[in-house]
Structure formats: C-alpha cells, structure tokens
C-alpha cells in the first residue's frame, strides 16, 4: 500500500472538523503581509512561504513593497519568496499570459518596471540578503542590467565582486535554458563591461564575463549539442555576431583573453571559444591552436584539450589533440583529450588510444576504453583483446568496450565474468555486451547462463538479448513466461514482445489469445503481432492507443519504431500535445526514416510551441531535439 493509500485509510476515519484549508479565498496581499508579520514576530514557517510563492507574479509585486533594509530577516524571507515566485520568468510568454498575467505584466511591460525598481533598490543596500543574486536575475533583470552597466569603470572591490556575482548567476540561469527575454542585451552588457576599467583589474570579473559569453552565445551544458548551439547562436543579435571574425565584438573579447597573464582567464577563454565553433569555426580553431603552441600551464592545456571536442570533423583538431596528448604527462590533460575524442571523427583516434594504453595509469585507460568503437584499427583491437586475456576482475569499461568491438575473441573473458562475477549489475552489463557479438558460441553462452542465472534483472537482460538475437532455443522459455499469469509484469512483457521475433503458428496463436485479454499482456501481444505483420493487429493497436495513458501510448510508438513498423499512429503521435507521446512518435518517425516522416518531423520542429519547448533546458527535451533534428546528444 502506498503512502497515499495509507494516509487515506488512516485519515479517513479521523474527524478533522473545523480545520481550515483550501485557503484560496485569502488574497495574495493578505498572505504576503501575514508572512512578513510572522517573520517580524519570529514565528515564520517555511511551508507558509511555499504556499504564498504559488501565487506567482502578484506575490512578487506585493513582496516588493515590503522590502526594508532595516529589517534584514524579513528581507531575507521575502527575497526567498520573490526568487521562488518569479522563477516563472523562464516560462514562455504565452504561457505566462495564460497562467500568471501579473508576472507577464511585471516582466514584459513598461508598467512592470515599477516592481523591478522596488526590488532592484536592494542592489544598493549595504548588505544583500542571502542569495539576492537569484532574485535580481529572476525578478528585476532590466534594472539589474542597468545597475551593472553603471559599474563598468568602478574598480572598487565591492562593486567588482557584486557585478561578477550577478553575471555568474545570470550565466547559470541562461545555461539551464531559462532566459527567454534578455540574452541579447545580456551579451551587449558583457561587451560594454569588457571595455571598462573594472574588468582589467579583476580576474573574477574577467572569468565571469567569459563564462557569460560561453553560455549566452551558444553553449549550454544541459543541452550541449551541435543543433542546440546552432539554434542559440542564430538568436544572438546581428551586431554582436559580427559579419566576420574580425568584427565580432564577442570573439574580440575572447581573443584578447587568450593572451591574458592569468591562466584562469585563459582557461575560461578556451571554454568560451567553443561557442564560436558554428559561427566562425576556422578562426576559433586557429586561435586555440595558436594558444596551444605557447601554452605551458596544464590547467589551460586541459581546457584546450576539452575545447577541441567542438571541432569533431576537423582533422587539424585531431592532429593537435594527438600532439598535445603525446607531449603531456599530466593525467588530467590526457583524460580531457580522451573525453573530447569520444564523439569525433578524427583520424588520429587510434594513435591517441595507442598512446593512452602505453601510459594507462591514473584512469587514462578507462577513459580510452570509452572511446572504443567497432571501427578501431587492428592494432587497438588486438591490444584491447590482449588486455582482456590477462584481466582477472570484471572491468565495466572493458566489458563495454568489448561489446562495442563485437569480436568473438572476447568471449573467454566475458564468459569468466558471467560465471565468476558476484555483482549482478556487472553480469547484466556482460549480457548487454554479448548482444553485439555474433556466432553460435555466443548463443550457447547466453543459453547456458540463462538457465543458471539467479538474479532477475540479469535474467531479464538475457531474455531480451536472446530474443533480439532470434535464438530459437529460447522460444519455449518465452512461451512459458508469456503464458504465466503469475510472472512479474516486466518479465512477461519482455517475453511477449520477444516472441514477436519468432514467426510461426504456435507463437502467433498464443499472441492472439493474449491480445484478447486486458492490460499489459494485451498491449505487448498486439505489439508483437504487429511486429510479425499480423493483419488483425493494426486496428487493435489503434484501439489500445486511443484508450491508453500517455505512458502506454509512448510504449506503443517506441516499439513500433524499434520494430521499424510504420503505422498511422506515428503521424497521430507527432500531432500530440503530450510530451511522452510526441517523444515516442518522434523516435519512431526517425527510426522509420522515410521521406514522409522527415517532412513531418521538420513540420513538428517548426511548430511554434514545440520551438518554445526546444528553447528550454527541461528534462528530456534534448532527447526530443535529437529525434526531431538528428542532433548529437
């Protein structure tokens, strides 16, 4: 019984007479005043704050009136309230208009400046309330920008430190995809700051400005894909992008910082330069390579190594990475290069890996393993297989690398791991690695081990692998599991779906029977029948889709994609206004890969609300972007 049900059961019998709740009748103004009073009396409860914060823009407006420098405790709580309530500034404008018109008025209209001015006045207080930077960026960005700009030439410690902390906070806000309004003006502000005296005197201000350029110009750690970068740089105002590398003011700041006396500034400049890999790829790479010729500090060399990843197709970057790798004893530098190399098409990949295995200490070999693909040359292949021969323990990096290699010579090591390894999670990894290794010996190992395996998750993984490999020997087990009403849901679902790989009367007859039932077995058996091309399945699947939850609809679409089976439901899913369904449909459409779906996916990408979604850093949005536009994750 869940906590919900327990609570219901327990509280269902208790007389809760006269307890007030559903306090929506209280005005927001009253609630905020009550909160301020309770802080003044020392009787403040955080739950009170959370409740008031749900009132959004109106709460911000009322709290702004109550900020008082002579009452620091009250100011501290009200600032927490404002920070929470104004988090909505990251919402799309249309969404704010619908759900929080007061916030829309504050953030999007001239009238809202009155509220911004009241909150922004705190910037001049002697002491800022804790974490006020977040309040300034969320609740009064226009005022804050003007306040920072007034300090362009103020080199006093307090001014520089405050300006830097605000820029850092704003960069963070931007890096999570929260800034919908002021990215362009933020960048323009950075250009002005970089021209002033304050920056010259402060390493912290310099690095914060460079980090601001990195995040606001293009790169976002939560969505650091090439398509994302391209989309974001498109939105940088023309005058800041510049017509050429020479006239681009932002690149000018970074170029200058690359020759700064501080290694911290140079390292940050290396990060910032990655954001120019779409607009000025040649110039950006040349700047990095030029710095590499002279740079002696490992902290900067490591950063150069990681920034080379922004040029995955450019062989000059690969050559530079090899040179840097060979000439560096520092494990951090070497690991950064290996991480950078993972998704590149550099021709020097094998040579870098060879170097890595020559001096594999301090985690270098493990990172090198993660870059191993099926395409590695024979020398690296033999080296990894030779490592596996002498390796006693189960190394997850090595197991994964062997799986990607798909070489049957890895079987002795993988067999040893499967038999001797005590940790089930590692045995499951071995099972996954076996999927990519062709041949009857692998089938035999899977079958043998399936019988003796005690852990349910590993068994589940082995069932999945066996059915994907279309191992006939596993069919009786799948039939038993599929018919077993007592079996756990995940086992049964896996077995039923797996049967879709084995055409034949016995299998289809069972699947048809199961499809007449209800719930999970009906869903997966109909999907398996669809995979087998059974004519009955299409209409039945449509019915299940219409009656299903978003989760079930997503499963249907994802498995249609996995089975490469086209169905009208895919197009229907692409029109959905539910995230999970749209995600499943986009994945299926991308896997089906026809011209029809390429056009449909482009249309979805052009939908104004999907576009607005893709601009955010919300969970799983990069995955959707990946399927919509074939971006790199």
């Amino acid at each position: 019984m869940t906590r919900v049900l327990q609570s219901l059961a327990l509280l269902g019998c208790l007389p809760l007479a006269g307890v007030s709740a559903f306090d929506d009748s209280a005005s927001t103004s009253d609630l905020v005043h009550r909160l301020a009073e309770s802080v003044d009396k020392g009787a403040y409860a955080p739950s009170e704050l959370r409740k008031v914060a749900e009132r959004g823009g109106v709460a911000v407006r009322v709290a702004a009136d109550l900020l008082d420098e002579s009452k620091p405790e009250r100011a501290s709580v009200l600032c927490q309230l404002i920070a929470r309530a104004s988090r909505n500034r990251n919402a799309h404008e249309e969404l704010l208009k619908l759900y929080d018109p007061a916030a829309h008025e504050t953030f999007y209209t001239e009238k809202g400046m009155a509220t911004e001015r009241k909150i922004g006045a705190v910037l001049d207080w002697k002491e800022w309330p804790p974490l006020f930077q977040a309040v300034a960026i969320r609740a009064c960005p226009r005022f804050t920008r003007a306040w920072i700009l007034k300090r362009t030439s103020d080199s006093s410690d307090q001014s520089v430190s405050r300006a830097a902390s605000l820029i850092e906070e704003w960069s963070r806000w931007i890096s999570f995809g929260n800034e919908r309004q002021h990215r362009g003006t933020f960048l323009a502000m950075l250009v002005s700051m970089a021209e002033g005296e304050a920056m010259k005197a402060s390493i912290r201000l310099s690095t914060s400005i460079l980090a601001g350029i990195e995040h606001a110009h293009g790169f976002s750690p939560c969505c650091g894909s090439s398509g994302w970068l391209e989309r974001r740089t498109r939105k940088v105002p023309e005058e800041l992008r510049g017509k050429s590398a020479e006239t681009c003011p932002l690149l000018g700041i970074v170029r200058k910082a690359l020759s700064d006396g501080s290694p911290l500034v140079r390292a940050q400049a290396c990060r910032a330069i990655a954001s120019f890999s779409v607009t000025f790829p040649n110039e950006a790479l040349e700047l990095l390579l030029k710095l590499l010729e002279l740079e002696k500090e490992d902290v900067v060399r490591a950063r150069i190594g990681s920034s080379l990843a922004s040029f995955p197709q450019d062989q000059r970057a690969g050559a530079a990475a090899l040179k840097l790798f060979s000439g560096s004893d520092n494990a951090i530098v070497r690991r950064e290069i290996l991480y950078a190399m993972a998704k590149t098409k550099w021709q020097t990949r094998d040579a870098i890996m060879k170097e890595a295995f020559r001096s594999p200490d301090e985690g270098v070999a493990g990172v090198a393993m993660s870059s191993v693909t099926k395409e590695v040359g024979p020398e690296i292949r033999d080296r990894i297989l030779s490592i596996s021969k002498g390796f006693k323990d189960t190394s997850p990096d090595l197991v994964d690398a062997l799986g990607r290699l798909g070489d049957p010579r890895a079987l002795p090591y993988l067999r040893r791991c499967l038999v001797d390894e005590k940790r089930a999670v590692l045995r499951a990894k071995v099972a996954m690695a076996l999927e990519g290794i062709e041949g009857g010996d692998t089938d035999k190992l899977i079958e043998e081990h399936f019988i003796r395996e005690s852990n349910r998750d590993v068994r589940l993984q082995l069932i999945r692998v066996a059915s994907r490999r279309r191992m006939q020997g596993v069919v009786p087990t799948l039939l038993d599991l599929a018919s077993d009403h007592e079996a756990a849901d995940d086992f049964r679902a896996e077995a039923i779906w797996g049967l879709g790989n084995f055409p034949g009367n016995r299998v289809e007859s069972l699947l048809l029977n199961l499809s007449m039932s209800r719930g999970l077995s009906a869903l997966y058996s109909t999907l398996a029948l669809t995979k087998l091309g059974n004519p009955y399945a299409s209409a039945a699947l449509e019915q299940l889709f219409l009656a299903g939850s978003p989760s079930e609809r997503m499963i249907i679409l994802a498995l249609l994609g996995e089975a490469r089976k086209d169905h009208p439901l895919v197009q229907r899913g692409l029109n959905s206004s539910e995230f999970a369904v749209l995600l499943g449909a986009a994945k299926a459409a991308r896997q089906l890969g026809s011209e029809k779906y390429r056009r449909s996916l482009a249309k979805v990408s052009g939908d104004p609300h999907v576009k607005a979604l893709l601009e955010t850093g919300m969970r799983d949005v990069p995955t959707l972007a990946f399927y919509l536009r074939e971006e790199k994750l």
């Binding site: 269902g12 006269g18 939850s549 539910e578 609300h609 979604l613």
Partner: protein
C-alpha cells in the same frame, strides 16, 4: 445540528521521479462540498511546466503561436466537458452525472481549477470514480474544508477499489457518505 463539513486530507509526497522521466505527472487536488441538493467538486490539476507548454499546441487552433481569448475559451470549455464525462458518481445502480458549474481558473503554478456539480436527489451513500486519474496518474490531495454552518456532514473514505501503481494513485475511487439533519 451538524454544522461541520468533515473532509479528510492527505498530502502524498510521492516524488515526481516515481515514473520514467518523459511522463508528466498530473497532481490533483479534490475538494468536495454539499450545496443544497448538489455535490460540488472543485477539481484542480497541476501540470508540469513542460506539459503546460506543450498543451498550448492543442489550444492554438490557427497555429499562430498565440492563444487568443476565443481559443482559450473553446479549449477549456471542451476540456471541462471531457473531464466531467470521466467523473462518475453512483449510488447503487443510479448514476448522477457531473456537470460543468463554472469557468476554469488558471493559477501561476500551472494549475487548472475546474468546478463541477452533480444533483444528489437525496442520495447519501455514493461512490466517486475519477476516470481521468486512470490515464493520468499522479499525486492525490483531498482538501480539507472550512466549516460551513447548516451544511450536511460529509465523510469521505478510500474505496477498496482504489488502485495504485508505482508509488502513486492510479485510479481514484472514493466512498462518500452524506448525513443531513433530519
């Protein structure tokens, strides 16, 4: 004379990560009251910002990226009617349909508040089933109510038919008992 509405309350703190992440939870708050011969239900759905943002795809009839007052009105009227149709109130074999009783109110936390009412016709022992929760599970909160003088006593219990799955309510079924002053 009974003057008090008796409402149970529970706040389930099941975290949103109970599901695989692409699924948007729908947290719901229900508030029942009796007004005259009607059972009134204030039904609040709180969506994730992601779900609220994408829902505009369904509202924006002319695909201009903006939601006009008319588009908003039409969308939420239709949504209210659909939702009312998924709520079931039964006494023995007699069904009392819910009707839309007010405009949808949108809140800054991306909540949508619906107002429904059902004629009781003297019914006292009811079973309430939320068919919408079957397809859109999430956290359930039953709100307590302020005392309202002369209103009947309302007792709400979890029904044995209530379902749960993966840490949250999967189908809301409640037993509602109404006691009036004779």
């Amino acid at each position: 004379m009974r003057k008090v509405l008796l409402i149970l309350s529970c706040v389930a703190s099941i975290a949103a990560y109970a599901h695989e992440s692409p699924i948007d939870h729908v947290d719901r708050r229900l508030h029942f009251s009796v007004k005259g011969n009607d059972l009134v239900l204030q039904y609040s759905l709180r969506q994730t910002p992601r779900a609220a943002l994408l829902e505009m795809r369904a509202m924006d009839e002319n695909r201009d990226g903006r939601i006009s007052l008319m588009e908003r009105k039409q969308y939420f009227e239709a949504r209210s009617r659909r939702l009312a149709g998924l709520l079931r109130l039964v006494e023995r074999n007699k069904t009392m349909p819910f009707e839309v009783a007010g405009k949808v109110v949108l809140r800054p936390d991306f909540s949508q508040e619906f107002l429904f009412s059902a004629h009781l016709d003297g019914a006292e022992n009811l079973e309430f089933t939320d068919g919408f929760s079957r397809r859109y599970p999430g956290v359930l909160v039953l709100e307590k109510s302020n005392s309202v003088p002369k209103s009947p006593l309302l007792t709400i219990r979890e029904s044995p038919k209530m379902l749960n799955k993966r840490g949250h309510v999967d189908l809301t079924v409640l037993e509602i008992n109404i006691k009036r002053d004779k």
